[in-house]
């Protein structure tokens, strides 16, 4: 019994839990910044560690050591709690995604719904962070984040349900297992669902075509304007963990997740697939420009929702399962 608890604690805290995921978060931020720089024909971080690989870590450490200002007008409770919630929610969601080949750390039946709930909760946290800062820029940013969620949440939910219907299970571990029998990756069976989920994840991550809540050319830094020092460090870490979560979700639901391929173990294929998804995000972020909030919401409802419903109908009629 104690041995079982000990292995569980090790799995939650070290591998494939918190420590490993935070390491991945920093690594993927570096991959993202480096590839974005290459898309824009420059080098990106270069002198912090070998080819700048320690840059995200240096930024994090510097922010931790800086002064932590709480504006006089801010709601202290919300202002103190939201950065912590923002950085832990993606970490919790990542624990139900299988990473090292076998079962996820906290796998249970219906954990796909749990992940959808946490994705929404992250946006609610963003809204509360904007509201709690009590600055005009933060409030506009928070309201925009909530408004944007109204646009992308329905197609995202439908795109997450497609694989679940095909595999006949609401557990991410089971969906991954279903795909690994006979290499039937869902990106080949439901390419429309994959494209919709990529668009919705870009909106969830506030990446460039949908970086409306933190548009630095319009509203300073959006909902995170007032955060400094430790709180900003936690927010940046939370954002990086969210990138890991989004790429892990796409890799698990549509690209076969952590399955052993040829002689490669599951964890290595998982890393390769998630890095590919991060590169896809970065490329899209590099080639697009920002939408207006009304274009984003009406575009989502006009095109993404009907396409997502079409995808689910196709799956129901047996196409792509």
């Amino acid at each position: 019994m104690t041995e079982h608890l000990l292995t569980l604690a090790l799995r939650v805290l070290i591998y494939p839990g918190a420590l490993f995921l935070i390491f991945l978060a920093f690594l993927y931020e570096w991959v993202d910044r480096k590839f974005l720089a290459r898309v824009q024909n420059r080098y990106g971080p270069l002198y912090t560690g070998p080819s700048g690989i320690l840059q995200p870590f240096a930024d994090f450490l510097k922010l931790l050591s800086k002064e932590d200002i709480i504006p006089a007008a801010a709601d202290r409770l919300l202002f103190n709690l939201t950065p912590i919630a923002y950085s832990t929610l993606p970490l919790v969601a990542l624990l139900v995604i299988p990473i090292d080949g076998g079962e996820a750390v906290l796998a249970f039946d219906g954990d796909l719904i749990f992940v959808m709930f946490l994705l929404t909760l992250i946006v609610v946290t963003v809204f509360l962070a904007g509201l709690g800062s009590m600055s005009r820029f933060s409030i506009i940013g928070g309201v925009r984040a909530a408004l944007q969620m109204l646009g992308y949440e329905i197609p995202m939910g439908l795109a997450l349900i497609g694989p679940a219907v095909a595999a006949g299970s609401l557990s991410i571990t089971d969906i991954v297992r279903w795909q690994s029998t006979g290499l039937r990756w869902l990106i080949l069976l439901q390419p429309l669902g994959f494209a919709i989920l990529v668009c919705c994840m870009l909106a969830e991550l506030e990446y460039v075509p949908f970086d409306i809540p933190e548009a630095e050319t319009e509203i300073v830094a959006g909902w995170r304007t007032e955060f400094s020092g430790r709180k900003l460090a936690l927010i940046r870490l939370g954002k990086d963990l969210e990138v890991v979560l989004a790429s892990a979700l796409l890799a698990s639901l549509y690209l076969g997740g952590a399955q052993p391929l040829y002689s490669l173990p599951g964890s290595i294929t998982f890393l390769i697939k998630t890095v590919l998804v991060v590169l896809l995000f970065t490329f899209l972020r590099g080639v697009f420009a920002r939408f207006r909030i009304d274009q984003m919401v009406s575009g989502m409802w006009r095109y993404m929702v009907p396409l997502a419903i079409l995808q689910v109908i196709l799956v129901e009629f047996g196409v792509g399962r």
Binding site: R42, G44, Q55, A58
Partner: protein, 145 residues
């Protein structure tokens, strides 16, 4: 531990840019220094929108009577440790506007300035050189404790 912190501080200086009433010449050069041609992200330098996120206040232009309060407010919104760089001759001393009725003079009349970058306008190379000098100054401060 302090070694790691000083390493992090040296490796990730984030800028905020503020024009106190200059002619925009220096601003164009500063923006040019941030473009892919010079790519200061190599050194970990990022341009931030919010003063709460920044370490270095890059000031261009002479300080006018109107902008003084705003400049102080932006400076006070930045978290410690913070540094100020005066870019261009106007920010260094007030230059041609020195004796104007509506101008205080250089930035150092209002704020403690760490690095002066002269030029009208300074080249992007000169601005990057100035930031590197500031980084060396931070390094020296950290090693002295």
């Amino acid at each position: 531990m302090t070694k790691a912190l000083s390493w992090a501080r040296v490796k990730s200086p984030w800028l905020i840019h503020f024009n106190t009433g200059g002619c925009n010449g220096c601003d164009i050069e500063l923006v040019a220094a941030l473009t892919p041609r010079f790519d200061v992200e190599r050194f970990g330098i990022l341009l931030e929108g919010s003063p709460r996120h920044a370490d270095i206040l890059a000031v261009t232009g002479p300080v006018t009577l109107q902008v003084k309060d705003r400049l102080l407010r932006i400076y006070e919104q930045m978290p410690e440790p913070k540094y100020v760089v005066a870019i261009g001759t106007c920010a260094v001393s007030g230059a041609p506007f020195k004796d104007c009725y509506n101008v205080y003079g250089g930035v150092d009349k209002v704020l403690p300035v760490d690095v002066y970058i002269p030029g009208c306008p300074p080249k992007p190379e000169a601005i990057i050189d100035g930031i590197v000098k500031l980084i060396q100054k931070i390094k020296g401060e950290e090693s002295r404790g």
